[in-house]
């Protein structure tokens, strides 16, 4: 019997990639043009098909309203969250409010939930793999930032289902990277994974033995990534243009996109260069028909100065991760860099300085996560699993109490899977149901935490108040996803559970989305000169 193929997919904010195990090695799969990383950009074309990847990124200038980028920044968030507010201000596509304060994207007279956009990227990864191996593939491990909360993890899992995938595991990105590096021969090394992606930042500390990867602590910032570095350059360019010509390019979405692209390119220059020459021709045309170019020179020193506070923020997170594991930088045996932005010398130098050691970058920081995911996918499907992962939950799970307060149920950095039970007693005669709200976060104030949902347990047996005890079990599974169940403490009868007020999709919404996803064709990729790859 042929070995079953399972994909490891790194679903990134800016770029995604996919890997499988071949002859015992993780192989990153190229698309038909040999590209290993694919922009997480989805462009809805006029003919109803979608273009995904690096070609779709080119559409960001040509058709900004129908080209969706950075969906990962929105996934699993509430419409009223800061991140969504920020995205609405800068993104050229329409972000609208859905049911239960969810986020939807309106494009070409259609409304899409955010997981549907991510599902298009996953569909592309699936297609790339299938073209490579020559048969259908459905099983996959999909990675998420370690600091993703339950809503974000659940939404990512939903995206997988919408794309027709059998999601074997939601795996934390830093943990995946550690798996790809392997180690294994040294006894109990303590390794820090410094993972700066396009939109998120994670730090995990792992103890790695011969066959075990134990996460000792994790911390992160899901509002900090390479995009923020681009944004600093962008703001600088916009301010400069405004000063020179008195024109605010922020108001011109087409121009803004062009300058954004130039800012990103300038940032990438500093991976090995010292000066970036920025030139955006004909960026603005005034009322008299006069056209202006945007021109600027940015030195590495200026750039470093612009982003220093962002770099500092990453080390605050490092402090937190070390503290949670009751360690100092001296207790660390190795540092691994993950994510494209870690190519910046300002990051490398700062990491070297903070940990007092040379960071390890021997595996391509853009590809290491999908390779680790492929290793885990392979291990799950095989009887002879040689290594195992012991991961933790990144945030404290909380129960809402009276007066807008919460109390902790499962602390952050607790190993998973785990469960914890609480008993609730009825407070009225003949009470038929119990409602509870659960949250994730580190504050006692409910307002400062993220609400995961309101659960309603109904069908309690009729009795006097205080006579019915409902035992509620909170479980965090191996995906880091929360499950809540309830049963009558005496009869053991399971109470029926309704989830209200959750930002997630209902079962029928997922089914409909899956049908729509299956019916949407992926557009072929064009080469630079416009030549289309023959099917």
């Amino acid at each position: 019997m042929a070995q079953e193929v399972a994909m490891g997919i790194d679903l990134g904010t800016s770029n995604s990639s996919v890997s499988i195990i071949q002859d015992g090695q993780a192989v990153v799969i190229p698309n038909e043009w040999g590209e290993l990383t694919h922009a997480s950009v989805v462009s809805f074309l006029e003919d109803g098909s979608v273009l995904v990847g690096n070609d779709a990124k080119k559409q960001m200038c040509i058709s900004p309203e129908t080209t969706i980028s950075s969906a990962k920044r929105l996934i699993g968030r509430y419409f009223f969250s800061e991140e969504v507010k920020k995205a609405r201000a800068v993104m050229p596509y329409a972000i609208v409010e859905g049911p239960n304060s969810g986020v939807r994207i309106a494009v070409r007279d259609q409304i899409y939930a955010v997981p549907e956009i991510s599902a298009m990227v996953l569909k592309e990864m699936k297609a790339i793999t299938e073209a490579y191996v020559g048969h259908p593939v459905t099983k996959a491990v999909v990675t998420v930032p370690a600091f993703f909360n339950d809503n974000q993890r659940q939404a990512t899992k939903d995206a997988g289902r919408i794309a027709g995938l059998d999601v074997l595991r939601i795996l934390n990105e830093p943990t995946a990277a550690a798996l790809a590096y392997g180690f294994g021969n040294n006894v109990n090394q303590r390794v820090v994974i410094y993972d700066l992606g396009g939109g998120t930042f994670d730090v995990s500390i792992l103890e790695i033995g011969t066959d075990v990867f134990e996460v000792l602590g994790t911390a992160g910032d899901t509002y900090l990534g390479g995009d923020d570095f681009d944004d600093r350059v962008l703001q600088w360019l916009l301010a400069g243009f405004k000063q020179q010509y008195g024109v605010d390019l922020m108001q011109d979405r087409y121009a803004l996109q062009k300058v954004k692209e130039a800012a990103e390119k300038a940032k990438n220059t500093f991976s090995d260069g010292d000066t970036a020459q920025i030139h955006v021709p004909l960026v603005h045309t005034d009322a008299e028909g006069m056209s202006y170019d945007l021109e600027a020179t940015l030195t590495r020193q200026q750039f470093n100065h612009m982003v220093m506070d962002l770099v500092q923020r990453t080390f605050k997170v490092c402090d937190e991760a070390l503290q949670s594991g009751r360690m100092t930088a001296n207790d660390i045996d190795g540092v691994i860099l993950v994510g494209g932005p870690t190519r910046l010398p300002v990051i490398r130098n700062s990491v070297r300085h903070y940990f007092q050691r040379e960071p390890n970058t021997s595996i391509n920081p853009d590809l290491v996560v999908c390779m680790g995911a492929a290793i885990q996918a392979h291990a799950l499907l095989n009887e002879r699993t040689s290594s195992f992962l012991l991961d933790v939950t990144p945030m404290t799970l909380r129960l809402g109490t009276v007066g807008g307060y919460t109390e902790a149920i499962i602390d952050k950095n607790t190993p998973i899977p785990i469960d914890r039970s609480r008993t609730f007693t009825t407070v009225r005669d003949g009470q038929e149901k119990v409602n509870i709200r659960i949250y994730q976060g580190e504050s006692r104030m409910a307002q400062e935490c993220t609400m995961l949902g309101e659960f309603e347990f109904s069908g309690l047996r009729p009795a006097r108040r205080g006579d019915v005890k409902v035992e509620v079990t909170f479980e965090i599974d191996t995906d880091g996803i929360v499950r809540v169940t309830a049963r009558d403490g005496e009869t053991g009868q399971v109470a029926s559970t309704n989830i209200n007020l959750s930002s997630g999709l209902s079962e029928s919404e997922i089914q409909n989305a899956a049908s729509r996803n299956a019916a949407t064709a992926l557009a072929p990729h064009e080469k630079q000169d416009g030549e289309v790859q023959p099917a």
Binding site: L380, F388, L390, T414
Partner: protein, 181 residues
């Protein structure tokens, strides 16, 4: 080491899942109550090696997977409590006490107990008159003024006579004070 994914062990695992509610954390990790932190970690790794749900992922038997899941969740719970000295102390006292049967799992009440204990340990004195003197003495110790610290502690001991911790601290400071002379 036995490979529990072999069918011959399945009935054993299902039985274990049923019995696990009657076991304490030491029994679950197969440890003596005086186990060292290294023993605890070693046993957690060992149990993970044979019982992590990922090892059973490829199997089809749903009830077996449920059993493994239940057992393994209790393994992580046991590790999470026993690796924390403070929680472990309270837990161990509880399971050796008269209400052992209701204290096999670390619950909110135990959590409160542990917190209270920590508070007490941190607080050298709760006596309203001795406390400000003690706090002042700590400041002086930090500044290296052993003579001043000693005087304050001497007075504090007068107010909170039965407090052994305070007395020990006073004696320690007295020693340092004399050394300096």
């Amino acid at each position: 080491m036995a490979d529990y994914t072999e069918p011959q062990f399945w009935p054993v695992l299902k039985q274990l899942a049923q019995n696990i509610d009657g076991m304490d954390y030491y029994q679950i990790l197969n440890l003596a109550q005086d186990a060292t932190p290294a023993d605890i970690k070693g046993s957690y790794y060992g149990q993970s090696r044979s019982l992590h749900p990922d090892k059973f992922y490829h199997l089809d038997d749903g009830s077996l997977k449920d059993a493994v899941h239940k057992i393994y969740k209790r393994v992580t719970e046991a590790y999470n409590v026993l690796r924390d000295d403070r929680k472990r102390k309270v837990y161990t006292a509880n399971i050796n006490g008269p209400s052992r049967a209701t204290k096999l799992r670390f619950d909110e009440a135990t959590q409160e107990q542990a917190k209270e204990q920590e508070k007490q340990e941190k607080e050298v004195t709760t006596n309203p008159k001795a406390k400000p003197l003690y706090l002042k003495a700590v400041q002086q110790m930090n500044a290296g003024n052993w003579e001043g610290a000693f005087k304050d502690l001497q007075t504090a001991v007068m107010f909170d006579g039965g407090n052994e911790k305070l007395k020990a601290l006073k004696d320690e400071v007295d020693k340092r004070r004399k050394e300096k002379k």
